[in-house]
Amino acid sequence: MNRWFAVSACGEVPHGAVAHTQLLGQELVLWRSASGALNAWENRCPHRGVRLTLGDCVGEELRCQYHAWRFATGSGHCTHIPAHPGQKPASNIRARVYPVFEDGAFIWVNLAHDAVPPNAAAAPPGLALRSIFTRAPVAAVTGQLLHGYADHAVCLVDEFTLDVAPAAHRSVRFMLQPVTGEQCILHAHLHGEVTALERLSVLKVHNALMSAVRDRAEAARA
């Protein structure tokens, strides 16, 4: 599917971090090099299939836990095979790389290999809310959201995106990540200024509201 999906808030993958996620059944490793370059790869070493999320970031490379093969940020090319330290790895040895970009608030991934990141405008200032994992498909969550969110009307932007009509000076954008056909993650970005003093209470309020959406979507499936 040639489409961009939000898979994580940018702050969840700091420099040197290795994180796991899944999109449309495909397991991904999200990792950021020491210099800050972001990568979204198939979560599988091309050598013996071990999940790369077991590995760690070493400078500008991701190192597999099993045989310590190293793969370069950006291209995914294997740069070092410790069993044959004097030899340059064959150029066809590489991790499977997916297109990725970030808009300042969220990380976006496209499973179509030839997809080119859009020249999208940066996300408006705001606050990434806590992402909520849900054991229900995307349609079940959007169905619940369309009943309203804290008594505010919600409108469907597209199959995976919803907006809460602005309340006072703030609005919320929901972005749904289909994990598998039966699971999804509800991401949300609150647009507008949030002071340091009110940040925690805002996060708590939305965490409760979004968790209730999850509970209703899961109950509707049961």
Binding site: E27, N43, R44, P46, H47, R48, G49, V50, R51, L54, Q65, Y66, H67, A68, I81, P82, A83, H84, P85, G86, P89, N92, I93
Partner: protein, 290 residues
């Protein structure tokens, strides 16, 4: 879906299904072999009654035996005897099992990992290898006369090669894959130059994506005790297990293009080709399936 019977090379052969010592404690053991749920009962006269449930195999099973401290079972008609381990029959050796560990992966992946030299410096760092001794020199792999493969000339620097050795040295390894799910490792013994330590990995294929790994050891009797041997093997296998359970796919791919191999993977490449040549499909992703 009705499961089909696995191929004869596995169905009509003997497999380990448990440790005798465990059965002696519990008298009854529920387990599974090649998808067939099994019940083993130790009778008062020391014999074992085995029965299967399920569509492939239902009722009492004839072919059950005890050897090397393990209970062995054949679901079909045995085409050959239980694998022979001559070292385990030498009177002066310390012979013991090393414990049985369930692993959520194809047993063929577990055998391949046992054959693997390149991971020793990383997964078993400080014991069976360590940086910067990561290079794997060329070694020889050839067919065994009665089936299986033999890898010789493997040499790796090991800082702590066994529970008895606290100093590192270059250790010579020989591997013999005797059955699709059974592999032996011979390691140079630090005291006796002519005899080697024998460690066998005997894998019980539970389903295509689950196994129980059993260990059998036979060591020349120098500064060895059973408790240390078992402790050491369980430590080592405990380091392998999280790797094994994170391999995708869980079944072993036989298509050489499915996973990249380098020279250090000589044993693995031969093992996969041999499995394909003798018609093993259970626990594999057959070539051409993807």
């Amino acid at each position: 879906m009705n499961p089909s019977q696995p191929e004869s090379v596995l169905w009509d052969d003997w497999h380990p299904v448990g440790e005798l010592a465990q059965l002696q404690r519990t008298r009854i053991l529920h387990t599974m072999l090649l998808g067939v749920p099994l019940t083993l009962v130790l009778a008062a006269d020391g014999t074992i009654r085995a029965s299967g449930t399920g569509s492939l195999c239902h009722g009492p099973l004839q072919h059950v035996d005890i050897r090397y401290g393990l209970v062995w079972l054949c679901l079909g008609t045995p085409g050959r005897d239980i694998v022979d381990f001559p070292e385990a029959r030498e009177a002066d050796r310390i012979v013991c099992t090393g414990g049985s560990v369930g692993v959520a992966v194809s047993g063929l992946r577990a055998v391949e990992n046992f054959l693997d030299l390149g991971h020793l410096a990383f997964v078993h760092a400080g014991y069976l290898g360590e940086e910067p001794h990561t290079q794997i020199h060329a070694y020889k792999v050839e067919p065994l006369a009665d089936g299986g493969i033999l890898a010789t000339g493997c040499r790796v620097y090991q800082p702590h090669p066994s529970p008895m050795d606290s100093e590192g040295f270059d250790v010579d390894y020989i591997y013999a894959v005797r059955r699709p799910y059974i592999v032996e490792l011979f390691k140079a013994n630090p005291v006796e130059k002519e005899r080697m330590d024998m460690i066998a990995l005997l894998v019980q294929p539970v389903t295509e994506e689950r196994c129980v790994a059993h260990i059998l050891m036979a060591y020349p009797p120098h500064n060895v005790d059973v408790g240390s041997l078992r402790w050491f093997q369980q430590l080592i296998f405990g380091q392998d297990r999280p790797i094994l359970e994170n391999q995708i796919p869980k079944r072993l791919p036989l298509d050489p293009r499915a996973e990249v191999s380098v020279r250090a993977d000589n044993s693995s490449a031969h093992y996969r080709r041999w499995l394909a040549s003798v018609g093993v499909r259970y626990g594999t992703v057959p070539a051409g399936a993807t």
